[in-house]
């Protein structure tokens, strides 16, 4: 018994436990409040308790074409930015991992920089550059803006996985007669697959709810977060905005949840194989 309990972490004092839960509540109660007020019949004020319960806002939201246009746009931007990030990010990771070239460290640093820079700096920089080259602001400028930070997420994930992978596996594959393509497909790709998935989902979630860079790189387009932003000035639509916020949350929650699950389980098995 003694040896058993000593290998476990000791139980935290009650005060600490309460404080921890209070912290979690503080973070998540506001989100629940948004969910709650999607059901209110009173559109302008947040009264509590709710004067009643209604599902009519879901119906109204469903009929708002502008809302669904922005949802679709956001999904498209996120999907394409993520796809570009998957390819560029893993190529960059492979280059930095496998070869030792002049300026490797600087490239690594420059790749990671966009996520550390405040979005507003990236946004202004992109706007100036895009404007300076007389490129019209469009769907694609949003995608490019989002790709700057999506690439980082994929790059970091894949590079970390490469570093944990035994380098000799690639040599072993070639040694056994596989050419470069076969080696990639049968050995490298399965090794980094979960990292790609995790990085991709995180990138998708980041892109989907991005506001700042989007404001600077969009033309007439309204992504979902921007649409929500614009709704704030219309108090009568507040419950519809709440419904939209709920959609954003659900769409971003799922990938983040899944990506955490995936990376956690694959690091377990890799730990075992050591």
């Amino acid at each position: 018994m003694r040896s058993n309990s000593s290998s476990l972490t000791p139980k935290a004092p009650l005060a600490l436990t309460i404080a921890a839960y209070a912290g979690l509540l503080f973070l998540h109660v506001p989100i629940l409040i948004i969910f709650l007020y999607t059901l209110t019949p009173d559109e302008t004020t947040y009264t509590f308790p709710l004067p009643g319960i209604t599902f009519k806002w879901f119906g109204i939201a469903l009929q708002r074409a502008d809302l669904w246009r922005s949802v679709t746009l956001s999904l498209q931007v996120a999907a394409i930015a993520t796809f570009a990030a998957l390819i560029l990010g893993s190529l960059a990771a492979a280059a930095v991992y496998r070869s030792n070239f002049f300026g490797r460290e600087s490239i690594s640093f420059l790749l990671v920089l966009p996520i550390a820079l405040p979005g507003i700096v990236t946004g202004i920089a992109l706007r100036t550059a895009i404007g300076g080259f007389d490129i019209p602001f469009s769907f694609w400028t949003i995608v490019i803006g989002h790709a700057t930070f999506c690439v980082v997420v994929v790059y970091n994930n894949v590079l970390a996985r490469f570093r944990r992978m035994q380098g000799s596996q690639i040599e072993a594959s070639m040694d056994l007669g596989a050419n470069s393509f076969q080696t990639f497909w049968y050995v490298v790709f399965p090794n980094i697959a979960t990292a790609l998935l995790a990085g991709g989902m995180l990138a998708f979630a980041l892109s989907f709810d991005e506001v700042i860079v989007t404001t600077f790189t969009a033309g007439q387009q309204t992504t979902l977060p921007i649409w929500i932003f614009s709704q704030l000035s219309r108090p009568r639509d507040r419950p519809v905005t709440n419904v939209a916020a709920m959609i954003v949350m659900l769409i971003t929650f799922l990938p983040i949840f899944l990506s955490q699950r995936l990376t956690a389980s694959s690091s377990d098995t890799e730990g075992n194989s050591k």
Partner: protein, 345 residues
């Protein structure tokens, strides 16, 4: 005499330089068909670089490498009929044991039933029948080693390269694998090239050994030749322990201007009152130190007029009490003249 089969591997003045570092410097080497050949040397001596050049992971900066007469110096690894057992095994963690072993056949698009049949044969060869469905992470170190061996042998390569494959195993398993590797080599009849820094391992398993030092091959020969007749001080010191005698001391003993080495077990601790046998060299001295090591005893003898020699004697009859009494005794060391190896330097 005309040779029927060309050598399995031939190095023709092969060099591999990394910047200013000469990892391998003009190495000439011939490895015979079907031989168990060891490349022995301390780390950084160039033996692994040689192996990697044979495998194709590295290319020589100068010189040519021939595989059964064919120049392979610039072929990629997948175009050479050579397979490797890696030091860290390099098994594919996401594949089962069977899939790992079948990999070489799979990339060559061998049909599935044929593949499975060969995998079963290989599993049997390395005594892992029934383990095919497991993942590498579920195997012990020794078992992974066998999987790596089976995976490399399934293509039936012309030459199998083994890069310190026993390094990660504990002593007992290591000795068992040494015997087993040798047996497998006899059974499959493939040329094995074995890289190791462990001289005992090389002596146990090899038909011939190449001893590497600082990118150069110091000596090539059978284990007995290398042990009994080391050509240089380095060889004498690296393989087993040896007394290196030079200068004034060597002249006094042999009457010649030479440097020579003599193995400690070849020297007899003679009675100071008895004459040494006629065909031997001898030298008088005093036993300064006695180290009892169970199986044998090691004596450090200080020679009259300078110099030290280490002598070992098996404890056939003597006990520790007996041998320890020898400390401080006078002795007349002698050894057969044939047992010394003369060196150039």
């Amino acid at each position: 005499m005309a040779q029927q089969t060309p050598p399995a591997i031939k190095f023709d003045k092969v060099s591999r330089h990394f910047g200013d570092v000469k990892a391998v410097d003009e190495a000439d080497l011939e490895i015979r068909d079907g031989e168990f050949f060891s490349m022995l040397g301390p780390s950084g001596s160039g033996k692994t670089t040689c192996l990697r050049m044979i495998a194709g992971f590295d290319r020589p900066t100068a010189g040519q490498i021939f595989l059964y007469g064919q120049d392979v110096s610039n072929l990629p690894p997948y175009d050479r009929d050579v397979n490797t057992v890696f030091q860290d095994y390099a098994l594919f963690p996401h594949m089962s044991v069977s899939e790992n072993i079948a990999y070489g056949l799979m990339v060559k698009k061998v049909a599935r039933p044929e593949r499975m049949k060969k995998v079963d044969e290989m599993l049997e060869l390395v005594q892992l029948s029934g383990f095919g469905g497991r993942k590498p992470s579920q195997l012990s170190g020794g078992q992974r080693q066998r999987v790596a061996l089976a995976r490399a042998l399934i293509n039936h390569p012309k030459v199998l390269l083994l890069d310190e494959p026993l390094g990660a195993l504990d002593l007992k398993l290591r000795q068992q694998m040494q015997v087993e590797l040798k047996a497998i080599q006899k059974r499959v009849g493939i040329t094995f090239i074995f890289v190791t820094h462990d001289q005992e391992e090389a002596l146990t398993m090899s038909d011939r050994i190449a001893l590497f030092n600082q990118g150069k091959i110091e000596q090539i020969g059978t284990p007995a030749e290398i042990y009994e007749h080391p050509k240089s001080a380095f060889v004498a010191g690296f393989v087993g322990t040896s007394n290196l005698v030079r200068g004034e001391v060597a002249r006094r003993i042999t009457g010649m201007d030479v440097t020579f080495s003599i193995r400690p077990e070849k020297i007899h601790l003679g009675n100071i009152k008895e004459k040494a046998p006629t065909d031997s060299y001898s030298s008088d001295g005093t036993i300064r130190d006695v180290v009892y090591l169970g199986l044998y005893t090691r004596y450090h003898v200080e020679l009259d007029g300078g110099g030290d020699l280490v002598v070992v004697e098996q404890n056939l009859k003597s006990t520790s009490m007996d041998v320890l009494k020898n400390k401080g005794q006078r002795t007349r060391l002698h050894w057969n003249k044939e047992h010394i190896s003369k060196m150039g330097a």
